[in-house]
Symmetry: C2
Subunit: 243 residues, 2 copies
């Protein structure tokens, strides 16, 4: 075939948006979806690995990730983004790249601010996403600070599995997971080789296996134990009135 077939769906009408229940605009009643469309300034499709230069967008399909590099050129992945996530590309040196082929809705910063200024519920929905981002970063910080390689890998895999579950993208025994080992390593502060060894150990011990773009959870209790997993799900304090 001449052109690679595009299997990644483009976002369509906001009124019928499949990811809206998980997204910033989940709080906007159906009667007012029209206002959402005016905030959307573009719809885009990117290939796996491509950088995303838009400042604010809602991921519609595919995965993305935010990252920085240290002056000596090593990469630190700061967060992974799943469909429905609101992503901001700030000017502090962090970049955003597509991890898989992906599509997203670009939001006009000024119109979004205006909308939030008019609708406090939307502002709180935005804050709610920030609180979740923060909770995730805190967990990851604890991983990098206090867990060994196997624990870090197990914890990240559990986190991603949980996030996917909430969107219906996973079943109890596993989920599709497009991460390369290099992504794991760069997110967890490990070398690729060491991440590989940790992953191999998890597989060897019958705990979990990440292969061919799929995660299989083989022994959930053992995995939670290794990861120091806290089942407490970090409920937002101030934004919980909504939703």
């Amino acid at each position: 075939m001449a052109v690679k077939t595009n299997l990644t769906p483009l976002p369509g009408a906001c009124a019928a948006c499949a990811v809206r229940p998980f997204a910033l605009f989940r709080v906007v009643p159906q009667a007012r979806v029209g206002e959402i469309a005016r905030v959307r300034s573009a719809v885009r499709l990117v290939r796996s690995g491509e950088a995303i230069r838009d400042t604010v967008f809602t991921l519609y399909a595919g995965w993305a990730f935010s990252w920085t590099t240290t002056p000596d050129g090593r990469r630190q992945i700061l967060d992974f983004h799943l469909p429905g996530d609101l992503v901001e590309r700030s000017e502090d040196g962090a970049e955003v790249s597509a991890l898989t082929d992906a599509s997203f809705c670009v939001l006009a910063k000024d119109r979004l601010c205006e909308f939030m200024g008019r609708d406090p519920g939307l502002a709180m929905s935005y804050a709610d996403g920030l609180v979740r981002d923060r909770a995730r970063l805190r967990e990851r910080l604890t991983s990098l600070g206090r867990r060994d390689a196997m624990g870090r890998v197990a914890h990240l895999l559990l986190e991603l599995h949980t996030r996917l579950s909430h969107r219906g993208g996973a079943d109890r025994s596993g989920a599709p997971l497009p991460l390369k080992q290099a992504h794991l390593a760069d997110a967890l502060g490990l070398s690729v080789e060491h991440a590989n060894r940790a992953l191999a150990a998890l597989r060897r011990d019958g705990v979990a296996a990440l292969q061919k773009g799929r995660l299989d959870i083989l022994d959930r209790p053992a995995m939670e134990d290794l990861a120091g997993w806290s089942s407490a799900p970090a409920v937002p304090v101030l934004t919980s009135l909504k939703a």
Copy 2:
């Protein structure tokens, strides 16, 4: 003397609040400070090391920090809180403790939510704080993932110096810093001994010295270099319309 003299000031009237320019309520015009007072449900004083059980509060004087423990009992400090910071104690297992003697204003969660629901500017001010929290956590994550001990220490010291500067609590050559080495270690994922050695190395090399509750920056360029310091100050994307 019978009773230890209390040198930590208690918060007074909101209208004359010294930390309000840096705090959540900075966006409330002077004419409406009365509404702030109705959100404040109590004023408290805690001693260094004490746990804080209130869910939402604005630190007025002194330092605090948020932390968790892993199942094997090691502590990870998630963030340090300075006067003016809004602090939320979520139910995800994280705790908040006073690092020095400290005082703060307890906020009534429901009344604060109601206020934010009525005043989108306030909600955006809240979001702005969350964005800053996130940026700080991202920097720290990069430290733990990709910097060695000296780099981590140097980076954290620079971060705290910067935050203090913004509040007028530091001059160019240094600042008062009440951290123990154990705090540094637990924030940076190091053992106390290793944090000590890193600190000693910074002192030996004439880069920076942390002693007797005070940080002295001896060679700022060298310190920034060690820390992989990015001068770019992480400007909020969506909340920048305010302030």
